[in-house]
């Protein structure tokens, strides 16, 4: 169960996994996520369902190697299994025929907007996506994104690929140019905040997917608390998508950082252990 069928390095820091999960594949909708435990002593981490294939019984997730858990995940090979996989969790994206929509995906967020673009296009929207990263080597899925959008705009912060701009620049241009009925922004919290600030003056409805710290993912612990419109919500069950213009961003930033020291410590330990192995081999 939860067998990894294939693994593909997308960028130096991101990896795509196709995982056997027939029940989840059948039920999952755009915007939902799974909770993964990589090994028996592992923590529970949320990963967005970036694609699914109900016939093949698989889901695709993309993970960024930022901490010990995602680094460990990268060590798994096709044929290996995850310790557990739970989903589909969270509320699906509200898919309607809005008209013209813009989806902004930054870094890992590219994987997250992929199924939403697809669903929105299937629902008859004109779908424009803006994907961006710091540099060209951190971009991925350009081809796949082309298949699920009507227009695709590619930007990098340093101009090493596509247009040299932050994702908010073409977003603003689009809004000024034409009627945009709804915007999604998914990526690092800071990017989502700026997407929100960009659209707010124009009054364009904007949805973000809040990536708060989670444990169970079922509404049981409240670790994922966010404040939206002055009310507290549990992102895992009430979200993860919320009205961007109502989000208390500072709270999100600070809660995301709560375990930064521990994460650093776990990563250091992991790296030390990794180093220890070749050294032992040398000794032999």
């Amino acid at each position: 169960m939860y067998c990894i069928l294939s693994k593909k390095t997308l960028t130096p820091v991101t990896t795509e996994y196709v995982i056997e999960a027939p029940e989840i594949a059948r039920k999952a909708r755009a915007g939902q996520f799974v909770i993964v435990r990589v090994h028996e002593r592992g923590e529970r981490i949320p990963l967005t369902i970036a694609d699914r294939d109900a016939d093949a019984g698989t889901i695709t997730v993309v993970a960024q190697e930022i901490g010990a858990t995602s680094r460990r995940m990268k060590e798994l090979e096709p044929g290996d299994s995850l310790a557990s996989l739970t989903g589909p969790l969270g509320r699906p994206t509200e898919i309607e025929r809005y008209g013209t929509v813009v989806l902004v995906g930054g870094g890992l967020g590219i994987a997250a907007i992929h199924p939403i673009c697809q669903a929105l296009r299937d629902a008859g929207n004109h779908v424009i996506a803006i994907i961006g990263a710091r540099s060209g080597d951190l971009l991925f899925w350009e081809d796949r994104m082309r298949q699920v959008t009507d227009d695709l705009i590619v930007v990098t912060d340093d101009g090493s690929y596509g247009r040299k701009a932050l994702v908010t620049v073409p977003l603003k241009e689009l809004i000024e140019e034409r009627q945009i009925d709804r915007v999604w922004g998914i990526g690092p919290a800071i990017m989502m905040k700026f997407v929100s600030l960009t659209t707010q003056p124009y009054g364009v409805s904007t949805i973000v997917s809040l990536n708060s710290i989670m444990v169970d993912g079922t509404g049981m612990c409240g670790a994922c608390r966010v404040s939206v419109g002055g009310r507290t919500y549990f992102a895992c069950v009430d979200g993860p998508e919320f009205d961007a213009h109502q989000v208390d961003w500072d709270l999100l930033f600070s809660r995301q950082r709560f375990y930064a020291d521990e994460e650093r410590r776990a990563l250091d330990l992991y790296e030390e252990n990794c180093k220890a192995i070749p050294e032992q081999e040398d000794a032999r």
């Binding site: 969790l89 079922t218 509404g219 049981m220 409240g222 809660r255 950082r257 709560f258 776990a266």
Partner: protein, 479 residues
Amino acid sequence: MATGKEQANARHAMPAQDPQVRACNFDEVALGYDHEMAVEEALRCIQCRRPLCVTGCPVQVRIPEFIKALREGDMWQAVEFLKDNNSLPAICGRVCPQESQCEALCILGRRGEPVAIGRLERYVADWEREQGVRVPEVAPSNGIRVAVIGSGPAGLTAAGDLAKKGYQVDILEALHEPGGVLVYGIPEFRLPKAVVAAEVDYLRKLGVSILFNRVVGKLYSLTELREQYQAVFLGTGAGLPIMMSIPGENLNGVYSANELLTRVNLMKAFDFPNWDTPVRVGERVAVVGAGNVAMDSARSALRLGAKEVHIVYRRSREEVPARAEEVEHAEEEGVVFDFLTNPIAVLGNEQGGVTGIRCIRMTLGEPDDSGRRRPVPAEGSEFEMGVDTVVMALGTRPNPLVFIEADGLERARGGTVVADLETGRTTLERVWAGGDIVTGAATVISAMGAGRVAASDIDAFFQAGSPGPWKATKEDVPA
């Protein structure tokens, strides 16, 4: 048999780890009687002809009978009596609020201390476990498939009883471990996970299959499950934490008790970084509430290295709902109790961390709906308490996920499921429910009992041949 009056007065003390030592480890605090102590304590029972203790037990455990068998040295007989009405005695012996149930009514309690029924229960059950699990005879399969949702005490019990009767049972559990609150909530130092694992092992031997990581309402709906299974038992508990809705509640360092306890118990954060999940508890901790959940949180915080842990409770000592033994143990370990105190805000710093709580003193007024005197804020009594961690242990409600696409399942105010307490039947045909999902947060023994009741009604329902139209009350089961 000794009949001296001196024996009637004091019960045999429970051997326990030294408070100073145990406040730094997660091993079980109460060590259990040895055989000699157990027999001595059993001899205190005067074997009332009309035993009141039994009437105080939510499931009417055959108390005098098991105690008699114990002191006569017939341990298997004691086990049999004990398990006649209680399928989880090793757990209940450890966590039941005996002082307000069976032991509250023990006749010896009028002049001295009641018989230590819970400790004897634990002794007999532990003895059985040490003998290795004996699997009872299982009736031949009747081909009827039952889905049990949730693997807490209600679900485990329903599953076990049904499997014994030949039903084909699948337990669907949202988390990656079985046991419900028994594994994610109640800490190791009070209920060793090996005790829970033995119960689960027993179920597996009975042929029950446990499917983890299945969140009903998300992966399948109740409506779908009713198509795949002839009967469904809902035992999803009351797992949704209630917060206070006061300013500052989302600051870093404010936990729901569920989060703190889940990190520690289910995810083993006390052993970080050997286990990946971290937990951060500061030096000064305030736990709001005074139930078992609050005691478990406070004592866990101490074990995670907190220097000072306060229980902040808006009522007085008399109203404390936690088991007496937990309060005692918490005090011995150095937990400070601030009664008649209620937080009105959590205070923080620029980095979003907790620096304290603002509290108000309370006085007790007229009795409220619960029959307890209502706490009333004393005007002008506000003060600040410097803490860096706050744990909200104010109670829980049923998690509504399971109700997604469950048309026809009636719910009460407060989010519990409407079910007949005598049968477990809900308003939705072939769906039974029991435990905290019906009663709201209650006890292990009552959840266990509800699992039993439902299992027996499910059996009655299918035994009746072609079950008639569904009615949610008992008299509708054809005789």
